[in-house]
């Protein structure tokens, strides 16, 4: 067990998998010589050489196509988008190609590709660079969607993603790259998809979140505990496949739920979570499920406006109190 940052855990996962399987290679903008925009791939070019650590032009369609095409014939590419906002350029290759080729071919072609990079909001990057769009991918059949909140999960989930025979959308959070945590050294440390983790136990209200939202919910839960309200925090870890059972089990215990994410609230993933809870645990609910999400606006630049657009622990606390009212 070693203590390391989220960002280092991602690098460790890629390094271990590249050492294990010669079919794994990484590609993206400035992943090599520049050492990665967020230093996630630092040292990897020197370690693995330019054929396995491929610096690409600023061409997201090309990156997505290169990764998808090479996966279709057996390589296991890990393509980095400098941020997920830029992946919008490549949406046709992602949605119309990577996600569908297995189905369109009647199962005759596999597409073991990982698309990764930072998502999330904040730090005054404004409208085009500060957004979280996981529900776009979760909405599309064929993708698996992974959003780790802690360094150990970042490693274990990315290793699982690289060994997965389907396209994986692996969304990191730029705001979590510096988070420290214990990470197993084991090169076979794999975190399975579709298994949520209870990060904190509680009896009064279930908080469902992922990525940075988990940290926000934990903070809110801590504050609420001082008032005598015990929240159970469910860290989804993967949105697709979704561990509905863990969510429902918790809600059947607490009878109240707040779902939370940074992406826009309107038609956000929280709507799906809320629907699943209502479908699966209606008779256990003592109040409607509350949703906490980002303001439905393009991210503003001004600091005060940005702060108002991003959900906080205070929003979670208010939602918990509302559902318990």
């Amino acid at each position: 067990m070693a203590t390391m940052r989220y960002q280092q855990a991602i690098r460790l996962a890629m390094t271990e998998e590249m050492e294990r399987d010669p079919n794994v290679y990484i590609l993206g903008e400035e992943v090599g010589q520049y050492q990665g925009t967020y230093r996630v791939t630092e040292g990897m070019l020197q370690k693995f050489g330019p054929e396995r650590v491929v610096d690409t032009p600023i061409s997201e369609i090309g990156i997505a196509g290169m990764a998808t095409g090479s996966a279709m014939v057996g390589l296991r590419p890990v393509a980095e988008f400098m941020t997920w906002s830029f992946a919008l350029e490549a949406m046709d290759q992602l949605v119309n190609h990577a996600a569908k080729i297995t189905y369109m071919s009647g199962g005759r072609i596999q597409c073991p590709v990982v698309f990764r990079g930072p998502a999330g909001v904040g730090t005054q990057l404004s409208a085009q660079h500060s957004q979280s769009m996981e529900s776009w991918y979760a909405h599309t059949p064929g993708f698996k969607v992974v959003m780790p909140a802690f360094p150990d999960d970042a490693k274990g989930l990315l290793k699982t993603a690289i060994r997965e025979n389907n396209p994986v959308i692996f969304m990191e959070h730029a705001g979590l790259y510096g988070v420290q945590g214990d990470v197993p050294d084991d090169t076979e440390f794999l975190v399975p998809f579709g298994q949520a983790k209870i990060r904190r136990e509680g009896t009064h209200c279930t908080l469902v979140a992922y990525s940075r939202g988990v940290h926000i919910c934990l903070k809110a839960a801590e504050a609420l505990a001082k008032e005598g309200i015990e929240c159970e925090v469910v860290d989804l870890r993967t949105l697709v496949p979704l561990d509905t059972e863990t969510i429902l089990t918790s809600v059947r215990k607490t009878h109240h739920a707040v779902v939370m994410h940074e992406e826009w609230k309107n038609v956000g993933f929280g709507a799906e979570l809320s629907a699943r809870i209502h479908e699966g645990a209606f008779d256990d609910l003592d109040a409607p499920v509350e949703r906490v999400g980002g303001a439905d606006v393009p991210m503003p630049y001004a600091k005060n406006l940005e702060r108002a657009a991003i959900p906080t622990d205070a929003d979670v606390i208010a939602a918990v109190k509302k559902t318990l009212a």
């Binding site: 005598g228 209606f282 109040a287 509302k322």
Partner: protein, 453 residues
Amino acid sequence: MAEIRMPKMGDGMEEGTINVWHKKEGDMVTSGEVIAEVETDKANVEISAYETGTLSKIVVAQGQTVPVGEVIAILGDAAVTNGGNGKNGSHAVSDAKPVSSEGVADYSAEEGTTTPVVPEKAEPTLVNASAGTRVSGEEGERVKSSPLARRIAEDLGVDLAAISGTGPNGRIKESDVRAFADKGVAAPKLRPAVESVVSTVSAKPAVEVARAAAVSPMTPMQPVAAGEDIKPTKMREAIARRTVLSKTTIPHFYVTMIVEMDRALALLKELNVDATDGKITVNDIIVKACAVALGKCPEVNSTWTPEGMIHRYAEANIGIAVGIEDGLIIPVVRDCHTKPLRTISSDAKALIVKAKNNQLVPSDYSGGTFTVSNLGMMGADEFIALINPPEAAILAVGAAVREPVVGANDEIKIKTRMKITLSADHRLLDGVSGAKFLQEVKKGLEAPFSLLS
């Protein structure tokens, strides 16, 4: 011979109309040659022959509309059909369906092509039995309650209509139901007098104090109900008539007595150990006790006739007040004086089920000689009931509550006690006879084995 069929000329095309036949019967047709023009919902399109031969028969005449796939003409082999084809004339199809040309692709599941899993056909059912949809007026005002509250209320046999919700918009929550069941009272409802004031007073039951203290309640305003006139239901009208009759024509007086229920409850528990067809309830044993007491106090089992006579009944037919959706109905368990407890219990059960399902017939609720009204399961400590005319009395039963009691030697004991109140017609009974009746009921319930004979 080849059949020429109405071709599908586009994704949504379901049918086509023959605008023009470019060929007539007997004409030679070569493969690829245009033979007709078809009108679809989108455009006029030409159709060509796929084979070479003689157009031996036109099946669908100009102007006719037929579905895709229908035979529109017959193409004969050139050599074979070259001869006898001139006399066929026009052959309009007689069964060509005139179909509206809405042009909308029909994605019905008729062929199972769009619906992968066809569930068992579920008949739509109107669910109105659940407490959540209970209506209290003809307009159908809904009792707001959380799904969990409804489930628990059903488990505990609590009527949601009797509970005041403390949740948003008066929604009944789990805590309200539990408080009601535990304490026999509804959690008090915050009713701020002024709409603009948000109350921060926690008025939650004790079990919820910890949570209530932690959560600043944001109970929304209960707006003063806007005035409206509601036409009463037939049942409401009947209740109004009969209660006015009772209260204005019968001189009521009241006697209350406390009954210790520990032994009766213990007996019920034993009796119910192996119950297969429904348990004997507290109310059943009270009815039985009343039947026995009525035998000993025949003056209670009587009526003041319109002619001013006193009529004593030969049988004890005991009514049971049952609260139902629109109000109240009193089905009657007949001949209680002759029936053992278990029979009274099963009769009562059947009547209550019929009452709740609106299946009672007049003979079920007429001919009563005495009535028992029990609000104990609703958490009422004690109450006073109105006599059900033309009977002489009614017994109001409160909740059985465990409480400290001072014993004969000044020791404190915990007893389960229940208050019963007799409302009696003073024309027929006096305080003493009323109390005597209650003593007999009490005696039966406190020595319950006497009721098993």
